[in-house]
């Protein structure tokens, strides 16, 4: 392997590359899905390949292949350089890179039970039990349960001398119940929507999810939502559960702080950002209570690794400190524009994709309130959780999110279930209205496995750790 990857680097530099890196990746996945008592699918996927990224004449080129023959390695390396030379014909500003010390390192996700070693029969038994526990309500027409695991072995090597060997293990699962009424559909999910919850962890993580125990509640709530009152519209005090708040962080903090978006290189697809380089240290992003970090080192995070896909070490850096905007997510190229080192957020979906600035784990640091104390302190409000739909503008300001369920809070007591909760806001005003954050006991890390960005589109696994938090004067609407 070392010889093959070195061959790619040597061919690229001989063809004129001033910098080259190669990523080899071997990814295996397994998923088991049950639907209404039947096995919908048991599937395994395996993909292996390599990608060569080069700088030549001040421009980037990238080529990739699944063929490891020496002839193909030479062809791909040469193709990457040819692509870079083509890029350079439509480029006036050469790429410069912030430096990074090349390392030789190894990283493996800490885990106790290899999820790929767990017998399929055991996994299927768990899924069957969870599925059965979901199907106790007559109005629940779709009971869906899922178990999934991934193992990614990747090697990064660069013409600067880096050699980094990493193995990332992820697993998780979830259940959901869809209740169908005369003219409406209601869904409840656990631990979260859009595929359950996923972590960099072993099978012990799935065991701790307690899918079977939670399933009856999930089904009962889905059914109850069909006849629940609708959440009243208007300006309200809202407590967001940590699952929904994870998505709020993702859309309104994670994405706008990606420096490539700020610099305009994602405008054609995902959009830009309301942030500018001049906002660093100046813009009030939220209330004094709001502290957000990008942390690629935190346990269980889907955005946790040893080194990013440019060989920059995983690290923890502040994005927002006491409400003040203090940091971007950067790459070697974008960090150079700020005369800073990269904070290690370049990640590629696969061997066949170019690394882009992606979230790692974007975490809201816990506050001082117990969750019970937060609710008890709320005279009149709404508790909402579990995302159902999401939409935000191309500068990451105007957002509108709908949740699966809400609960009325009256005189400090969490009461009746409400349906179709939806809220909207403008990012800095919303975060500025945060007046209380629950403590570390209520803090949880959530995995978002489907963050989309780039052309061709890449779906990335990212993480968000947060406790529930309270926001004042939130515009709560109704999904008509």
């Amino acid at each position: 392997m070392q010889a093959l990857l070195k061959q790619a680097l040597d061919t690229a530099t001989a063809a004129g590359a001033s910098y080259a890196d190669v990523r080899w990746m071997d990814r295996q996945s397994q998923s088991l899905v049950m639907r209404n008592g039947d096995v919908e699918t048991i599937s395994e996927t395996h993909s292996l390949g390599f990608g060569v990224r080069v700088l030549c004449n001040g421009a980037w080129g990238f080529a990739s292949s699944a063929d490891f023959s020496p002839a193909e390695i030479d062809r791909i390396a040469a193709q990457a350089v040819a692509i870079a030379k083509a890029s350079a014909t439509v480029r006036t500003r050469p790429v410069t890179l912030a430096p990074v010390a090349p390392v030789q390192a190894t990283y493996v996700t800490p885990f106790r039970i290899d999820p790929f070693a767990v017998p399929l029969a055991e996994k299927l038994a768990l899924l069957e039990a969870a599925d059965k526990a979901l199907r106790g309500e007559a109005t629940v027409k779709v009971a869906h349960s899922l178990l999934i695991c991934h193992k990614t072995h990747k090697i990064f090597a660069s013409s600067d001398g880096a050699w980094i060997d990493q193995t990332i293990v992820e697993c998780g699962g979830g259940v959901s119940a869809t209740a169908v009424g005369a003219d409406e559909v209601q869904v409840r999910s656990y631990p979260s929507s859009h595929g359950g919850n996923l972590a960099t962890a072993g099978w012990e993580y799935v065991e701790a999810l307690n899918l079977v125990a939670e399933a009856p509640r999930v089904a009962a709530e889905a059914a109850a939502l069909l006849t629940a009152p609708t959440v009243p519209p208007g300006e309200q005090t809202v407590i967001l559960g940590s699952s929904q708040l994870a998505l709020q962080i993702h859309e309104s903090i994670g994405h706008p702080t990606e420096l490539d978006r700020v610099l305009g290189t994602e405008l054609s697809f995902a959009g830009g950002s309301f942030l500018t380089p001049g906002a660093l240290g100046e813009l009030r992003y939220g209330s004094d209570l709001v502290n957000v970090v990008a942390d690629a080192t935190c346990a269980l995070g889907l955005g946790t690794f040893g080194y990013d896909d440019e060989g920059v070490p995983a690290q923890r850096s502040h994005l927002i400190e006491n409400g003040l905007f203090t940091g971007f997510l950067t790459s070697r190229e974008t960090a150079a524009t700020l005369d800073q080192p990269s904070n290690g957020t370049m990640r590629a979906q696969s061997w066949g994709d170019l690394p882009l600035i992606r979230m790692t784990n974007i975490n809201l640091l816990p506050g001082a309130w117990t969750l019970d104390g937060l609710i008890a302190d709320t005279a009149d409000g709404i508790f909402m959780d579990t995302n159902r739909s999401w939409s935000i503008d191309d500068r990451r300001l105007n957002f509108q999110f709908a949740c699966e369920a809400a609960w009325e809070i009256k005189d400090g007591v969490k009461g009746r279930l409400l349906k179709n909760p939806l809220y909207m806001g403008i990012t800095p005003q919303f975060w500025g209205s945060c007046d209380a954050i629950a403590d570390a006991a209520a803090w949880q890390i959530w995995g978002v496995p489907n963050c989309g960005k780039g052309e061709p589109m890449q779906s990335m696994h990212v993480g968000h750790g947060t406790s529930p938090a309270r926001f004042k004067r939130v515009n709560v609407g109704v999904a008509r």
Partner: protein, 446 residues
């Protein structure tokens, strides 16, 4: 990329190895080049070559699925064995009725030589032309040019045996001016040579200039003229809300129990056709069933849904050729939607608006309530103010939250010209539309 002959040889060999009651082997080859540019400069330029083998093995009514890009004989044999093991471990699925039976596949040319031959230098030259035109206008452009060649081959133990090369090229430009104007235009074709950079540039510059100096307008209900790009987005999300048979059969779709009923305006006819002349096409689906035109809504009446072999059996129907690649939990889905055009020009529709807006495109559209086709999203890259039948200025972006079918029921005009839009694997060819009283409920922040 793997050749047609190599692909069929590989798949024929897999079927011969047998192993389960039934075997389906699909090969998906891809050769893709994509060049991105921002501020009139190329900043990302990538090429990927890959081929994936998707194996389904059925042991009775139990199906195991293995996907791999390792195509050497040992890896293929191991994948076949593993798919059989996965099948053997599970209980029977009563809905599985077997893989597709062979049907004649009408011939179709789905690959264009200019796309198959396009290089990074060709894409760079196109962007060089575009960037030069933008610089001469004092404008900044970002976007992409992509060329993709694919090969789909499928052989199963029932006798399905099909192979087709396909191609797709596209070009996108998002342009901004120093006076706050932004515009958008795109082109999609099986043929790289047919993309037409000059007409795209002309279109997007016109929009950008019209969109300069935008002002805030109040939220509320407006008569809107949707460009074909914006209309395509609404059709795409209508599809996500429930043209696929699985959602219909499970009661989750707006079509559930509504087939044959009037569900939207008379002017609205939507069908799916992977053989549409203007879109990059597919001669057969991922089960080897030939594609054909399938009416979904005709004159406002619900007419049909997208089926694969499994959902068709549940519904006592036949597959419409809409199977998606395994493993697939979402069921069959239309991927080449067409909305019937009208006879007007976009300017004719504008003339019919006393006070309203022209929407170039929507951004980050999402379904809030699929059963009621309630969607939300924002305008982007050219929201223009219409007064007394003329475009008089530009507006800052707004958020809409609206039922797509309700909005379509208020359609009072369609253009003759269509454009191809759609994202995330779904292509939509749609006309421009005049919709009365379309609801905007938020301002994009400033």
């Amino acid at each position: 990329m793997i050749s047609e002959t190599q692909a069929l040889e590989l798949l024929d060999g897999i079927i011969k190895l047998g192993g389960g009651d039934e075997v389906e082997a699909v090969l998906a080859g891809m050769d893709r080049g994509l060049t991105r540019y921002a501020d009139n400069q190329i900043h990302q330029n990538v090429a990927t070559t890959d081929a994936s083998l998707i194996l389904r093995v059925a042991v009775g009514k139990r199906v195991g699925v293995v996907t791999t890009n390792r195509l050497d004989p040992d890896s293929v044999r191991a994948a076949l064995r593993r798919a059989r093991e996965l099948a053997s471990l599970q209980p029977e699925n009563p809905f599985f009725v077997g893989f597709a039976d062979p049907q004649p596949i009408p011939p179709m040319v789905a690959a264009h030589p200019s796309t198959l031959a396009a290089t990074a230098q060709d894409r760079a030259e196109l962007i060089h032309v575009l960037a030069g035109m933008m610089r001469s206008e004092g404008l900044s452009a970002c976007g992409r040019v992509s060329t993709t060649s694919t090969l789909r081959a499928i052989v199963n133990s029932r006798g399905v045996r099909a192979v087709a090369p396909m191609s797709e090229a596209d070009m996108v430009a998002v342009v901004s001016s120093q006076d706050g104007g932004t515009g958008y235009a795109s082109r999609v074709s099986p043929s790289f040579a047919a993309l037409g950079v000059e007409s795209l540039v002309s279109e997007v510059i016109e929009t950008t200039r019209l969109a300069e100096d935008p002002v805030e307008v109040p939220i509320g209900a407006y008569d809107v003229v949707l460009s074909p790009y914006a209309a395509a987005t609404l059709v795409e999300y209508l599809s996500h809300a429930g043209f696929g048979a699985l959602s219909v059969l499970e009661g989750r779709s707006f079509l559930s129990d509504r087939m044959g009923y009037k569900i939207t305006g008379d002017r609205i006819s939507i069908w799916d056709d992977a053989r549409d002349d203007e879109m990059p096409g597919e001669p057969f689906d991922w089960e080897g069933v030939p594609t054909r035109r399938v009416p979904l809504i005709t004159g406002g009446t619900a007419m049909g849904m997208a089926h694969d072999v499994t959902t068709a059996a549940r519904d006592e129907a036949v597959s419409t050729g809409h199977a998606q690649p395994s493993p697939n939990g979402e069921g069959p889905a239309p991927t080449h939607l067409v909305m019937a055009p009208g006879e007007s020009q976009l300017a004719d529709l504008v003339k019919q608006v006393k006070k309203g807006l022209l929407v170039t495109r929507f951004h980050y559209t999402n379904l809030v309530d699929p059963k009621r086709t309630l969607a939300t999203g924002l305008t982007r890259d050219g929201l223009l103010i219409i007064a007394d039948g003329e475009i008089v200025g530009a507006a800052r972006n707004l958020r809409f939250t609206e039922s797509i079918l309700d909005a379509f029921s208020r359609c009072e005009g369609l253009t003759a010209e269509t454009r191809i839009g759609g994202e995330f694997g779904t292509r939509v060819r749609a006309p421009g539309m005049l919709l009365r009283q379309f609801r905007f409920n938020g301002q994009a922040g400033s």
